[in-house]
Symmetry: C2
Subunit: 242 residues, 2 copies
């Protein structure tokens, strides 16, 4: 398995401490969200679609995604989850959800019941605030996805997507595994798989990237950023919310 999607020690605490300093009590409170670990195989569903799901998951290692399937069988990928992210926040409070969460690689995740969140709110307003901030960041990413799909053409969309993945992975190396096929990329960006193939070739021809089966090399990050008019603002958290 690729290092980029490898293990994160106590993933949620780690994630939170990037944002704020936690007291011992708060760390312990958060740790209660991670008391049982489950492993999923690549392709396995974390939640069965349609069935009401009472769990969140904190993703420890591997990759997952959220997929919405339409009545006519079309699919839309809503998010690709990296280690440290919380899976399922987006459908909190909804009567019934038709979002399906699926493992993209073999992965480890900690399921915890949605009620735990309420307990956390009661015991620590500070943590409530952080969950709020995380939710807001998710939302900012969704907004950026709307802009991307709605306003950019295929090469721009793909370039934006690749830059976003690179930024979120945070690796210095412009070189990472992307273990999803072109069909799923298309379902993320709202273009057909055939056109994804053509567009990847186009970006290769421009010398911006190289790719072969699930491996991306970014040759010209600035070029991709310029092409897609990528603005990282939506990934950055305000200091005062830390």
């Amino acid at each position: 398995m690729d290092l980029a999607f490898g293990n994160v020690r106590s993933c949620i605490v780690h994630q939170f401490e990037r944002v704020v300093d936690l007291t011992e009590d708060e760390v312990n409170l958060l740790m209660t969200l991670e008391n049982n670990e489950r492993e999923f195989q690549a392709g396995e569903e974390l939640t069965r679609k349609g069935k009401y799901n009472n769990y969140f998951y904190t993703l420890q290692s591997g990759l997952a995604c959220a997929i919405k399937t339409l009545a006519d069988g079309q699919r839309q990928v809503l998010d690709i989850f990296l280690p440290g992210q919380i899976i399922g926040l987006q459908e909190i409070g909804l009567k019934n959800s038709f979002t399906e969460f699926r493992a993209l690689t073999r992965l480890k995740a900690h399921p915890f019941p949605k009620q735990s969140l309420m307990k956390i709110f009661e015991q620590s307003p500070k943590l409530a605030k952080i969950f709020f901030t995380i939710m807001a960041r998710e939302q900012a990413m969704l907004i950026e996805r709307i802009v991307n799909i709605s306003r950019r053409n295929a090469p721009e969309r793909l370039a934006h997507f690749l830059v976003e993945m690179k930024m979120r992975l945070g690796s210095c190396a412009c070189d990472f595994h992307l273990p999803i096929n072109q069909s799923l990329i298309g379902d993320t960006l709202g273009i057909s798989s055939v056109h994804v193939s053509r567009t990847l070739k186009h970006l290769r021809d421009l010398g911006l990237i190289d790719n072969k089966q699930g491996h991306i090399v970014i040759n010209d990050l600035d070029g991709l950023i310029k092409l897609s008019s990528f603005d990282s603002g939506y990934l950055e958290t305000s200091p005062e919310w830390k």
Copy 2:
């Protein structure tokens, strides 16, 4: 001004009580968010774009929208706010926001500083939970917008948009004012204004709707729902989160 966008008494409390029963203390706490009212003219910006904004707004009457403008001048409308909604939640915690909030009609809104939210979290976990639920609903709407833009063609998109507006307005009468021009509708749905005009004509020709300057009449709601495969699930809150 149209009744549909008319006054809501103490809008946020009203909104919250649709979801949960509030104690006297909680009502008072919420009321602190509405202690000063401001009026904005149609077309006026609530927040100046680019400038850091420290305020939320609870919308009391009128309509507003959130717009993101790209570097090349293209616009994307992210949300259309109805009375009772909170404007600005989506950009909480973000370092810098390039979302612009603009009045679509003459409107009344209550600005309150973002810090107030933290105070509420400290004093009532129950209210924190409701804010969370509201945020989740916003997010569900964004997800639906992604699906709409990404997966449906122009007539389907427009039909979906009209059904959503009707559902959110909650009016029994399939007949409402929509005080935004076709250019803005296009910027909401990711199609050009010219194509909005053609598509509206198409829906009229099918006998599904009637429209003239800012006024929509839905003749065949079921037809629109079927055309757009509209599923209201994303607007409905789960009972256990109430």
